[in-house]
Amino acid sequence: MDKKKLGIMEIEPLVRDRYIQDEFNLIGKRGISRMCGKEKAGGRAEYTRDVQLPGMLYCRILPSPYAHAKIKSMNTEKAEALPGVRAVLRYDDPELADKPLYGLETKFNAGHLASDGQAFYHGKHELAVTLEQWKQGAGRVLDGVAWWEGHPVGAAVAADTPELATEALGLIEIEWEELPLVLDPLEALKPGAPLAAEEINNRNNIIRKLKVEHGDVEKGFKEADKVIKFDARRRPYTVADAEPMSDVIQWKGDNVEIWAHQQQAYDGKIIFGMKMGIPLNRIKLHVPYQGSQFGGGGNPMMHHTHGVHIISGILSKRTGRPVKTFYDRKDNFYNLSQDTDCHTSFKVGFKNDGTITSVKIDNICAKMGQYGIDHFEENTRIPNLALNYLEANINVAPAYWFRCEQNHNALCLSLVIDHVAAALGMDPVEVSLKNDGAEGRDMEYLSKFKVEHGFPDRDSLAEAIEMGKEAFDWDSKWHAPGTKMLPNGKLHGVGFTWDHEWDDTRGTACAGVLMHCDGTVDILSQKSDDGLNAMTTHCQIVAEEMGLKLADVNFRFFEEVGFQMMTPDGSCNLAVDAYCTRNAAREARQKLLEYATTPVKVLEIEYPAAFPEHHPDDLDVKDSIVYLKANPDKNVPVAEVVKRAVLNQGGTRAPLFTWNWHRQGRYGTEEGRHRLTRQAYFAEVEVDPETGGVDVKTIVNINDVGKAISPETCEGQQYGGDYMGVGRALAEEVIYDPKTGVKLNANLIDYKVFTMRDIDETVNLLLETGMGYGPYGLNGIGECIATIVPGVIGNAIYNAIGERVDDHPMTPDKVLAAIEKAKAKRGDVK
């Protein structure tokens, strides 16, 4: 390669965008109907699961019955002979020889995990395995070795009906060699533990190590008035998404069409194209509505995201028919991400006034763990921090980000603040305000930063707390832990926690705005609709910026048009993506006004403009009408302006089309790009001291979203996150048989997703300080609530019992044990 010196394009990581409130017609307004609403509620919205093509075959992949085993031999003859079976793909077929599952071709890769991933600024990761081994870590599209029970291995069958495909799987005869397995990260790290996957690491089960030190923790402990130590545990929960995974692939000559249930569908297309040797311009990608994703659908190292495409693709090519590879509900439990298993120990030093001087975290996680230190760095003024992180491989299903990668970071912050408050007998609200800051700096520093960078200088946490205290009636409800029994015999508890808002940090997005000759607009960009109302919110923005009626704007994101928006769209929907829709819309508006004022001469014929005497600056657009600012009575509908200009085959102007690209931040949260917005959570619970049952009475969320584009959509994230978060706090847990590693609750009866009845009341309030890095000063909201709520529920349970549970989920057995412990401490005779 030519060693030509490349110039470096600077990306401004501190882009911010002020807005002036109350000047919008559509942005921030309530009562705007959800644009996809009737389609979804009326049962007309199409999901990948619903796609059926003429002659389509159904493909299923063999799930391993063992948590760790090798295929010694496999006979597929009987399956092949079953009438209606059209093709059987074997793991040893030549088409699969060079098909690792690993998605190196996309931006997600081992390098990303090693150096540019979450929380990357606080030190160098040490991979315990080589990059090559990391790649191996994903296995192959169809492997001969299973690393977890349910691992798609051995063979895939395409047949005329789903039940025939399933039946054929049952006819495949396999001689297995069962291998020893390990299921707990602590066990996995002991000397002599069975190797979870010798193909990745043949010495031990360590995958990743990380050490971080800021300041001097030992000095911090010496400066402290008190030092406490405690342990916490978080057991894995899983996505359990609504729509079971499927994809459809159809070969048409040299072209391929893909229907993908995938959060980052374009990445899937790239991987598919490269692995199958198909030019990307020969692949047509359809992304129907997505029956939820939550980030778990974004793991590039899993079958779910692109292994299935390769299997469908090969089988479609072989059979000449469209192939739908599908998971049933159980398969979905195996192959979609789960959150990881964490064992964490804390040592915390603090002053008697609640100022924390030092935090040391020892954290052992399984697969794709989360460090636990990040939010102390990003979010507090605590000067001395240390992390010792170890990540172990075990024989359970893959782990990946699931609403979201900050789960453990949020819980660790919440636990430390609440433990300190308890040790001092202080209100946790006070302890939180004492330690709020960023990267070891205090609020004074942050104020200066805000002013220097043009942000409003508001104290987001103080404001959020004030709103929340009032809505919750905190000052009269809060009491010392373990001191309030209600007339109904239940223990009353209230909890508080807080965090910063991290959903505006990263990614790139690209979108086009195309005005048709009738004055209506299509936003052109491909993204997956995971339910965050991107359709309506982007249309609001474009309509607002162009002066159009909302009904005149549409966002058709289902078809790939070469432009992609940043997904996961939960994290980055508006904070990243709305920059490009907004900027493209502003440019389109300008073009429209040029069309309105500039006549065109073609040969001898002059085509008059709508406002030939005027300059674009003289005009404005409102409700899809262009008018003269000085004399609004002089007006022409947008449709009239563009009709003559861009009418197909008779047009005089180029299509009214603009596009924009935006890069937001780097990747993850980077140093010096301080998080400015905060969120505060309050919860009230009643604990039955006889059963250990926890009734969640009220949750109050205050989220500083910077600026809400669609308040109802933000609220949807708030109460939606509440239910998921409470479920994680109290019930959601992937349960394995300790001997075989078989997942015992891979169904929605035993894996408990919470229902309408499981929270009495949620109160969701939005704070708008304009301190987000997104356009209009906004930041996201999708990830944080479900991530933080488990912490506040834990704090409320502690406040009720007077003893900590600190082992999530806080199931009745653990709650009862804590109650017994509290009784024993009080010396209750029972």
Binding site: T691, I749, P812
Partner: protein, 323 residues
């Protein structure tokens, strides 16, 4: 699902003869909410060949008082039982149990006979494709004993099987002293459950079906109450449930019946608790002692001792509610 044979029948006799024709290889389908799930998951070691649909038999969904008792047809739906004014008023525990069963949709489909006949929910037994060929399926081992047994029996095993009966209505019917009329006999409902052989849930022969539930009219001074503890407030099977019926004589208890479920292979009649409260007033102290007695014989497994505490609480709550 894999294919199977399916027959509609018009009469109970036809149902019985269809069962006889298949000599143990057919099952009855009523609401289907249990059997269809087991067929989907290939739970059975040896799968039944046929389903006999009895929903085509007319007039089996009645709820009526007759001959001094409440008679419920085998096809009466749980939702109708839950909302029946007569049952809510006089046979309260049954209405409450029906109301707390599963979810509204399941109650709109599920029948009372299906609910008392349903299979256990042990996750080893239910693991798809017969992944664990446990004792209940004719295998050698109970995988729960050393495995994940947080929801399993606290009163020991039946031939090593530690699964529990998950029915919500069964303990209510037992507390109410109900009888089950089958195509062959009339049984006290407590005797309806198989005590010796874990491969069977009930004592029903292969060619025997439930034809009626009969609940005696409660005495004038009696009340009944059902309580359920589960993680979620809807959908879930019980971790423990309990029903009590108490007949009072002035301030003291004349007679009582207390039944727990989801604590043992069969609904567990808490005889000691019931006997203890007779002749006493129902106060906190009495019910606490009764509950402690009832759980005296509990033998918790590695992960389910908490169920003892919950069971005690439910006994107390249901008894106090009958005051």
């Amino acid at each position: 699902m894999k294919p199977f044979k399916h027959y509609d029948v018009n009469t109970l006799d036809e149902a019985v003869s269809a069962l006889q024709n298949f000599a143990g290889k057919a099952k009855i389908i009523a609401g289907g909410t249990d059997i269809v799930g087991m067929f989907k998951d290939e739970v059975f070691a040896e799968r039944p060949e046929a389903l006999i649909n009895i929903k085509t038999i007319p007039n089996l969904d009645y709820i009526k008082e007759e001959d001094g008792m409440l008679k419920i047809g085998p096809l009466a739906l749980l939702e109708d039982i839950a909302h029946d004014e007569l049952i809510k008023g006089k046979y309260t525990a049954l209405a409450e149990a029906a109301r707390r069963t599963a979810s509204p949709h399941i109650r709109e489909m599920g029948t009372i006979s299906g609910n008392i006949c349903q299979q256990c929910r042990c996750w080893y037994f239910r693991s798809p494709n017969n992944r664990f060929n446990c004792i209940r399926k004719g295998g050698e081992d109970c995988y729960a004993e050393e495995g994940e047994n947080r929801y399993h029996s606290i009163f020991g095993n039946v031939k090593d099987c530690l699964a529990v009966n998950p029915s919500d209505t069964a303990p209510a019917l037992i507390a109410l002293g109900a009888k089950v009329k089958t195509s062959k006999r009339v049984l006290e409902i407590a005797d309806f459950y198989e005590k010796e052989e874990p491969k069977k849930t009930t004592v029903l022969d292969d060619d025997e079906i439930v034809v009626e539930i009969q609940v005696p009219q409660p005495a004038a001074n009696s009340k009944s109450k059902f309580e359920k503890f589960a993680i979620r407030k809807s959908i879930d099977f019980p971790i423990v449930n309990c029903a009590s019926q108490v007949e009072m004589d002035g301030d003291t208890v004349k007679s009582a019946r207390v039944c727990l479920n989801a604590v043992f292979a069969n609904p567990y009649v808490a005889q000691k608790a019931a006997e203890y409260v007779v002749g006493k007033t129902l106060d906190e102290e009495t019910v606490t002692a009764a509950a402690d007695l009832a759980l005296q014989d509990a033998k918790p497994l590695t992960k389910n001792a908490y169920k003892i505490t919950i069971a005690k609480s439910l006994i107390k709550k249901t008894l106090l509610a009958c005051k």
